[in-house]
Amino acid sequence: MLPIHTRGMLNSTEPRQTSSRDVVQRRPADVVMRLDRLGSMHQSRLSFMRILTRRLKTEKWSITQKSFCIDETGVGHATYSITGPHNTYTLVAFAHDLPPEQRSDRVIATAWDATFTLYDGIPSEEDISRLAANVPYQEAGRISSTELTLARANRSVRLWEHVVAALAQGHQPDANQIDSVGYLMRTTAVYGSGKFGATDRQAVAGRPEFSVPFQAEMLTVYLIRTFVRDLVQHMANVRGGPATVQLDPDLARRLGIGNSTGLGMAPFLINHPQLFNNWITVREEALARVRNIEFVSEPEWAVFKDVLARTRVSVDAWHSAHPLQAEKIQQLNRDLERLDTYLPGIRMPTHYLWDRLYEWAVSELCVEAQECLVSLMMEPHADLIDGLDACMSAPDGAFRIDGSMPVSRLRQCVEEHYQWALKVDWDVREHCARAWYVSEEKLEPRLGERFEEPIEEYEQPLAPARDVCRLHDALNSFDADNVCAEFLLKHPEHRHAVRRVQLMDRAPYAEIRDNTISASLVPFDMLRCKLAFFGATHFDPRSDRWLRICLYANAPYPEETASRDVDTWVYPPPH
């Protein structure tokens, strides 16, 4: 499915592999696609945020604050235009005065501290008026084919007040307070790809800057961060007058943008199996290439040790009150310490160092630390890995069913790819205790208790394992020599499952290999996996289905991209 093996496409990223040793392959889907591993994933070189910031520097994108019409109560709008080699995009930001009782991160909220859209080009006054009448209302408003995204954000009230007060009083805010929260505002939704009338991804996917998924959304959040920095300074200036100081750029850089993510993100991974397969394939290909390197150079080894040290700083600052996450962070801290202790025993040069280190980690470290190590091992090898980003998108639309496939072959595919699911007794209540549905209230995706709530008839197709097992039952009582076309004419109810099974035969990482309706499902594992691909850090579950994260902490601001590191900023400076 992916052209990864195509020499022409990825010439510069061929594995450096010289020995006759067996080549390490991509890890099996049965290992990778378990929810506990997907829910332990970390950002990497292939994260969408880092791909964006690298591009901004390479292509010398420039940013201009076009307007800042915000009054002394903090209400008004501002525009920021960013220009690359081919196109200009403008963040149109609206700042509001939000009563505290209305501050909710839920989809069902109706007002926010700030609302945004990313305009395709430079908006006219008429455009701004049109957007002002729609963007602040978010889902209740309407945008058009000239807008790429729609987003909103709420303040961290505590840190916002601290920063405004400190600057207004003529001194810098406390770095510890900045680090403990991490952001002045957190987005509670960043909609793209045709939502609420916006332009479709397919309409802009041909532009180089949007060839990688979620680049418009990542650009929006990146520009929001700049706006938020400017807005907090503005509010401090209003309060403090001439006594106000400018926020120290080094402190400002520590501020990211928070994000509050609910269940709406979880179905994405199930509803976009080809895309998900491509993301995971690229990551696994990157790992395989690294493990196949025969000798690691001293400078490469130094890069690894540097990012490991900086990761430890980052993990030190990662806090969560959620018991599951708190335990994982504790384990990660302990295992990174073990890794640190293990490294001095390695003599350079070591044959296939990365592969040995990976194998050691698999036998000695927790899954969270293993996946962290996977990301760190990729860091020194931009030349091998970064070109893979071209393989992370996927064609739009449903995969076409091959009706000529014999029923016996389809059944074989099920038994090959869903072996784990066939072992589940789906009549046991705990194994199908949950149901995914969409509430009529603002169409919020929700997860309910199948046997306790009247939701089953509204169930979304988000339990592929159960559905494929039902398909398998039906196949068992159908003529094995017949073809899928005949089976589907008799059993149209299995068409969705047949499509998934046939796709899996070509895209082994397309499916989460765990029960997504089990009583023991931890939904935030699904959210975390997607957010790790965005490049998020400091995952902080607020419940089993609600997660806060931080984006762009320590990243250079747009005007700093020429002079500062645009690649490894995600790792904070060492202590």
């Binding site: 505590r158 309409a203 997860l447």
Partner: protein, 226 residues
């Protein structure tokens, strides 16, 4: 007219079909069909609405063809173009080897067209389809017809009765036929009344809100002042 993005149109199509009682796999086919028709500026979603209102949660077996040789017959009422179309696409190679097929009493027959085009593309075979006084040929990823797309669309919308559709394989377009052009913009314009009716069908797939659902279903509190 209401301007919808392709993503919104796809989502609405899928949920409206689901609301009419189609299983998810056929709802996905409905999305493909509506999007294909839209790419030729044909009223795919209007046709889908008309189909959904007729199917309206009745058992699908009622609308499934009985295949007898080269004739596809209805059991009782008309045949569903999504079921017949999917069956054509699933049998592409098999059907390409035949010379003709007749599908009797197809509801909203315009919805069969995307599947025939797909079947033609998969099997690299020219296929002519005709019903009433329409004659269309799917050939080398292009559509040729005995009238232009706009005229065809208007007539289909005005006369949405079931019709018997004849498929003939290996027929190339005649020189008098007009070639339809494909739009690059995939957005859709819908009449507000059509949009409203599709939304009503889609609404059947949303669970009524309850306090338990509101509090537990998404797992977060209602205030986030911190």
């Amino acid at each position: 007219m209401v301007d919808l993005s392709a993503n919104e149109a796809a989502s609405l199509t899928k949920l409206a079909a689901r609301g009419a009682g189609y299983p998810w796999g056929l709802c996905e086919e409905a999305v493909v069909a509506a999007r294909w028709l839209c790419s030729f500026e044909l009223s795919g979603m209007q046709a889908l609405l008309s189909l959904c209102l007729r199917v309206d949660q009745q058992p699908l077996s009622t609308f499934t063809p009985q295949i007898e040789g080269t004739t596809w017959k209805p059991v009782s009422a008309g045949l569903c173009p999504l079921i017949c179309g999917s069956a054509l696409s699933d049998r592409a190679a098999l059907i390409a080897a035949r010379s003709s097929i007749t599908i009797e009493s197809v509801m909203s027959p315009i919805l069969l067209l995307p599947f025939v085009a797909q079947m033609s593309a998969i099997s690299a075979t020219s296929v002519q389809l005709s019903w009433n006084d329409f004659v269309l040929v799917c050939h080398a990823d292009q559509i040729y017809a005995n009238r232009d797309a706009d005229d065809f669309d208007q007539r289909c919308m005005n006369d949405d009765e079931s019709a018997t559709v004849a498929l003939q394989m290996h027929i190339e377009p005649s020189s008098s036929m007009s070639e339809w052009s494909v739009r690059t913009d995939s957005r859709q314009n819908l009449l507000p009344a059509c949009l409203h009716k599709l939304q009503k069908l889609a609404q059947r797939t949303y669970a009524p809100n309850t306090e338990q659902s509101r509090l537990l279903g998404a797992g977060a509190g209602n205030s986030d002042n911190d």
